[in-house]
């Protein structure tokens, strides 16, 4: 038998062996998974305490930020390589890289959240080019700073004062029921804010030439009364 034939046989056996070994290992990992755990596709990441979130990277996977008593950061296992975090001066900087997608695609609900952040309290979010879904935050002061192609969806949030700073082509949308006593809204470039689902008492808008506001009839009346 030729040496190359012997080598091919040996290589084929090795490939089959490595395939079997990796699959046995995958079986072990499979057995570790708690199928009843809603976060079975996620890996917990530790972090030092923080009160401001600064997230940059891509909008390929939405980032879910929910107010909960327990503090936790969970990253989609398949995106773990794309996740980097560091805490500096009370701010958690997260870099979540990947490809950018269109706004229509980024609102697809079928895409799983790339990061799920549970936090008892948060004073602000700085988003650069990322897509956030902020849910259930009840706080006194909340700051939102949106840059690049950032998208933020706020849902069931309640704040006494809400400071919003929007730049570039950022997009803000209030969904379901949100309440704020006072809103400071500064928008520049071609940013868009959808204020349909927010109740407010006062608003202080500072708007650039090319910005867009999406308003319902009630919100519009409310805005005129201010």
């Amino acid at each position: 038998m030729k040496t190359s034939t012997v080598f091919i046989v040996f290589l084929s056996i090795t490939i089959a062996g490595v395939l079997l070994a990796t699959n046995v290992s995958l079986k072990k990992e499979y057995e570790k998974i708690d199928l009843d755990d809603v976060f079975k596709n996620y890996v917990s990441v530790d972090s030092e305490p923080y009160s401001v979130l600064s997230i940059s990277g891509s909008n390929g996977y939405p980032i879910e930020i929910v107010q909960k008593d327990t503090n936790a950061i969970k990253v989609l296992r398949s995106r773990l390589e794309h996740f980097k975090s560091v805490v500096k001066n009370d701010t958690l900087f997260i870099e979540f890289t990947g490809s950018n997608i269109s706004m229509q695609q980024s609102f697809l609900t079928t895409t799983p959240s790339g990061i799920v952040i549970h936090k008892n309290n948060l004073s602000g979010i700085i988003a650069t080019n990322t897509h956030q879904r902020v849910n259930g935050f009840k706080t006194e002061h909340f700051t939102l700073n949106l840059k690049g192609y950032s998208h933020v969806e706020l849902q069931n949030c309640n704040a006494q004062t809400l400071s919003i700073l929007m730049e570039n082509e950022s997009y803000l949308q209030f969904l379901e029921h949100n309440i704020a006593d006072s809103i400071s809204l500064k928008m520049t470039h071609t940013s868009v804010a959808d204020l349909n689902d927010i109740s407010f008492k006062k608003v202080h808008p500072v708007l650039g030439d090319s910005v867009a506001l999406v308003l319902s009839k009630d919100v519009f009346k409310n805005l005129l009364n201010n």
Partner: protein
Amino acid sequence: MNYSTLSLLIKRQFKEHYKTYATDLLVLLILLIFMFLVVHQWKDSFSGAVQNGVFVIGLFIAGGVFSNTMFGEFSSPQSGMWLLSIPAKASEKVVSSIIISTVFFLIIYVITFYIADFFYLLFAGTLNFEAILNPFENGFYQFFFIYLIFNGLMLLGSIIFNKNSLIKMLLTIAVLFILLNYLNGFILSFLIPEATIVSSIAFDSFLFSHYGENVKVFLSDNINFYSALFVRIIFPIALWVLVWLKLKEKEI
């Protein structure tokens, strides 16, 4: 391994084929620009990763064709005998071909890609430093390792098959790939019969469905390191060793 022989062999390859390579380079540049324009129309299908898509497609098309020409002399018995008669070790002939079709090719390919990318970004009106593709970002560099495997297989094809080696080897790769996937799926379903496996990537992970939710299972970090070592380093080297053995055993 004699380094002066190695450099002579590399010099020989370039001197004998520089005109073809220059034409190929122009074709590659046009192909990449064309692909950018085509893919730009369907950029949403690429999850915005137009550059990544074009880079990978171009790398494998151009790299496959180029690697396949490394032992193109075997397409005719006369030139095949000429190649075998050159006073150099088979290992030196193989190593010079690997250097040309990996190191030199990748350098030239990356430069050509960025020229095409520049024109594309200029055309798309998004030319800025951040918009330029960084192949070392987000694990994209893994494609370079896959290219090494592809290179090994294409070199092998150019030695084993005398005529139409490109088509024959591409078909062989397709068949081997399908077989590997079937074998992987078979082993997984044998080991984990209770899981509804949706898809699997050999040596890496699998996806199973649980009450409509897809759950991905990855190798542990430790095992993943050894698996990656096998796939990215050991396997390409094993293929190059096989290329060397096949060249030593080549008869005309």
